[in-house]
Amino acid sequence: MIEVMIVEDDPMVRDINAKFLERIEGFKLCAAVASLDNARKYIAIKKPDLILLDVYLPNENGIDFLKWIREKNIDVDIILITADKSIDRIQESFRYGAVDYLIKPFNKEKKSKNKLNM
């Protein structure tokens, strides 16, 4: 079973994504957090295999979190979730080892397809 952590500040989006995840076989939600502080805290406790990371968070940036993960050498896959298609940002995320990205709004088929291609 692949343990997944969702990092998303919008509670409605967080709930929807959690529900999508629950309907995909082989994946299990281990934590859903609203801020990067909490993400840093729960990554040590829950040790997820995959993180669904929102790029825009209040006063924070998902890319910075990605850099932090690489600096700390934490073994976890990251899929970025973003609302824009900025090529620069997507390329930057790949440089820091993101495995894929999803552009909102996406459907549960897209999410499951991406994960199965991992």
């Binding site: 919008d10 929807i16 994504n17 006063n59």
Partner: protein, 535 residues
């Protein structure tokens, strides 16, 4: 192109030339005067000696007796060593025979020269120049009369060689030239020192560079938008530019000419310049209210080594600075705001799309209806009730920012703003609300529990602005310092926000009160009418 001569070289050359010309004129006069004097002296001397010899009883008696024992020769030999510039004394009897001569072989022989007739035949005393046996000479002739003074019994020729006069003249000339060379050397050194001193005073600048600097300085002072005031060490204004006069809005009767020389405190009573003169410490980006103008000023001391010789202040109208800053950051803010709104919009679409895919149709409808209701509410308030576009735009941008930060921002439905208090601008109100809401956004939590409520009420007498949040409040110890410039509880902040808010409210004759019961509650009241502006 011809190379220009440097100023200090020019001064040195000029002074040296003047010295040379002066010395040359002095030399010419001195030489002419001295040579004349030497010649005159020689002539007088010769004549005196010849007269003395001609009237000497010893000579008269010896000549009357035809000088059998050579007394005339002895007389002359005794006399000559004591005389200056007399080469020879020749005593001649009425037959033209010499009775004395430097060359003893010539004694007893006939006098030679040809210029002696006037003395020998006409009894005249005179000076003449002729070539004798000793060479070219200047000689004084005087007749010798017998002891009864009746008959001429001879004459005396007292001479000096022209060469000896020339030699005296040359010696005098040499002295004059030596003295002149000394004076020239002193003059030259003086010229060099003077030119070096002038060069040092002018910081090595050439006159055209100084004039260019002056033109540039004047042009620059008037071209810049910053106000500039410089004072000397007593606090008197030494420089003020047009921008300063414009920014400080001096009334009529204050022009540049009559401001210069006045004490700065007489012109700007609350100026910080005397403090700079006293401490020598620079001050940067200080805000200061002068009458109804808020300026942002830098003040620095002017030092000469360790001595404070004055101070200079540069300043701008804060409204101008703010406008400029807003113009510069406006585009950035716009981009940030668009991205935030896009993110927010996509989140909403994602939620609706997710709810539909999860077949939670009722939730989807409720969500759409909630979003629409909120939008309508805020849109209604901002378009109908708040009739100032700047204040509406500010509230809308803060609403979007709060939404992005997961903070609930509620604008009271009763809010109303149809006109501004007298003498207040929309920027003043924007500044008050903007600063307070920003502080609240920093204070409340971003986890969905943060709440900020804004109420803007207006009636005929007053404008009331109330802002409440459920953040951590402000510690009692910090409440006294809140309005002090430079005080901030936030990192990397300059601590100007609350200082500006208080200044605007004070200028509008209003009040601000703070209640920290369960967060922060600001209550601001500003009168709508104030009578005359300077009341």
């Amino acid at each position: 192109m011809r190379k220009k001569i440097k100023l200090h070289t020019k001064i040195a050359l000029l002074v040296t030339t003047v010295v040379i010309i002066s010395i040359s004129i002095i030399i010419a006069f001195a030489v002419s005067w001295m040579t004349n004097m030497i010649e005159d002296k020689a002539r007088t001397n010769l004549m005196n000696v010849s007269m003395m010899v001609a009237h000497s009883d010893e000579i008269i008696q010896a000549l009357e007796n035809r000088d059998p024992d050579g007394r005339i020769g002895s007389y002359v030999d005794n006399l000559l060593p004591g005389l200056e510039q007399v080469e020879y004394i020749i005593v001649v009897d009425k037959d033209g025979i010499r009775h004395s001569h430097p060359n003893p072989a010539m004694i007893g022989q006939t006098f030679v020269g040809g210029d002696e007739q006037r003395a020998a035949e006409e009894g005249e005393a005179y000076i003449s120049e002729a070539t004798g046996t000793l060479g070219k000479a200047l000689r004084a002739f005087a007749p010798i009369y017998d002891s009864k003074n009746n008959e001429e019994i001879g004459f005396v020729a007292v001479g000096t060689l022209t060469d000896s006069i020339e030699s005296a003249k040359n010696t005098a000339l040499l002295y004059v030239i030596l003295i002149s060379l000394g004076a020239l050397a002193v003059g030259g050194i003086g010229a060099f020192l003077l030119s070096n001193n002038i060069k040092k005073i002018l910081l090595g600048l050439e006159p055209e560079e100084i004039s260019q600097l002056y033109t540039e300085k004047t042009g620059m002072l008037e071209a810049i938008h910053e106000g500039l005031i410089a004072v000397d060490n007593t606090g008197r204004i030494t420089l003020i530019n047009d921008a300063a006069i414009e920014i400080l809005k001096f009334g009529t009767g204050f022009d540049k000419a009559n401001l210069l020389g006045q004490h700065v405190e007489a012109v700007i009573p609350n100026t910080g310049m005397p403090n700079i003169l006293e401490t020598g410490q620079s001050e940067f980006d200080r805000e200061q209210r002068i009458d109804h103008t808020i300026i942002v000023t830098n003040r620095i001391p002017i030092m000469n080594g360790s001595e404070i010789i004055g101070a200079i202040a540069s300043f701008r109208d804060k409204t101008e600075v703010t406008k400029l800053a807003e113009e510069l950051t406006g585009a950035k803010k716009m981009a940030w705001s668009l991205r935030a709104q896009n993110h927010e919009f996509m989140n909403k679409l994602h939620t609706i799309s997710g709810l539909i895919q999860l077949e939670e149709y009722h939730e989807a409808l409720v969500f759409i209806s909630d979003v629409a209701k909120n939008r309508n509410n805020i849109s209604d308030i901002l378009t109908r009730n708040i009739q100032n576009p700047s204040v509406s735009a500010l509230l809308l941008s803060k609403y979007a920012k709060a939404e992005e930060c997961r903070v609930k921002l509620v604008i009271d439905a009763e809010s109303r703003l149809t006109r501004l208090p007298q003498y207040m601008t929309a920027e003043d109100i924007v500044s008050i609300i903007g600063n307070l809401v920003e502080n609240s956004l920093d204070a409340v939590k971003n986890d969905g529990t943060g709440l900020i409520e804004i109420k803007v009420l207006q009636n005929d007498a007053t404008l009331t602005i109330q802002i409440r949040d459920n953040g951590g409040g402000i510690p009692l110890a910090d409440q006294d310092k809140l309005y002090t410039q430079g005080f901030s509880t936030k990192k990397d902040q300059r601590g100007n926000g609350m200082f500006i808010v208080k200044n605007i409210i004070d200028a509008g004759g209003g009040t601000i009160s703070l209640n920290c019961d369960g967060g922060v509650f600001w209550d601001i009241t500003i009168p709508m009418n104030r009578g005359k502006k300077n009341d």
